[in-house]
Amino acid sequence: MRIADDVRITPKNVSDKNYQLGKYWYNTTTNSGGYIHLKTNIANKSSVMFHIQCEGFNYGRARAIDSVVTGYTYSGWDSVLNQYMVNYAGGASIESTYISSDNYVCIRLYSSSWYYSGFLVHAMFPCPSGRGHVLEITDTNFNQNNGSHF
């Protein structure tokens, strides 16, 4: 068995380390619903096409967490272009992206309960633009703010 803090996978036919597992773990025991804000190191207007997945378990809602957001930080646009959020499992939903005051992509998740929840953040950069990006979650916050926090 091999153990790693996080994993960067190079697909077998290319040379980009563009499939990244376990980039961040978020967990909470809070007995309330609300919004989790994740700040990434994807800069605004940086021409990165991304696929970010939150995967885990929301005990309070007794549902798996499997939510994905995709989008593109087009250089000529002030927000994430062609973004799409999908909640496959019901445990939490990625509601929106926004740009922080210092110009990084942020993700806002919502659940009506986060009681004993935890999820991993995975990332993929499979498209022709932004293939060399390495995702980092640089800050997080839990609050009742359904707009921008960072």
Binding site: I9, P11, F50, N82, Q83, V86, Y88, M124, P126, C127
Partner: protein, 155 residues
């Protein structure tokens, strides 16, 4: 941090079954800047007598349709045929699992479709199980790819 060339996960089975690579991540990344709709034919190394039950998962991002990708192809290559062919495509997927067939030289081919492939990034994972005498979890490889307007067989 671990940097890996693909990720093949195996587990020796305590029941005495032969082990293999049951989960294989990032077996192939197809990406393109072509415009318009297209079928993508991905030829595998799964020969028609290979005797392995295989699921291939498509994930990633299709910028052209503005959607994440979530679709799957499942089949059983056995006795010169593809048995139990099944496809699933999530309702919000940017690429469809359109179909599958045997190539003229006897290998399983999966076919994807997208109404736009503009700046598409398709990542393939594979999941395997054994059958009969074939070892569980042989490696799944993509040996050839074609992107065109053919909705039937290409290879």
């Amino acid at each position: 941090m671990a940097d890996l060339k693909g990720l093949d996960v195996t587990k020796n089975n305590s029941l005495g079954q032969s082990y293999g690579y049951n989960e294989q991540l990032a077996i192939y990344n197809h990406f393109t800047t072509a415009q318009g709709s297209a079928y993508i034919h991905l030829k595998t190394n799964q020969y028609k007598t290979y005797n392995q039950i295989t699921t291939i998962e498509g994930t990633g991002y299709n910028y052209g349709t503005g959607k994440p990708i979530k679709c799957r192809w499942s089949f059983y290559a056995y006795n010169n045929l593809l048995y139990d062919k099944g496809t699933t495509t999530d309702s919000s997927s940017g690429v469809d699992a359109h179909g599958m067939y045997l190539s003229s030289d006897g290998y399983a081919v999966i076919r994807a479709y997208a109404s736009s492939v503009y700046f598409l990034g398709l990542m393939l994972n594979a999941y395997t199980s054994g059958a009969g005498t074939h070892p569980f979890g042989g490696r799944v490889e993509i040996t050839a790819v074609a992107q065109n307007g053919t909705s039937g067989n290409h290879f």
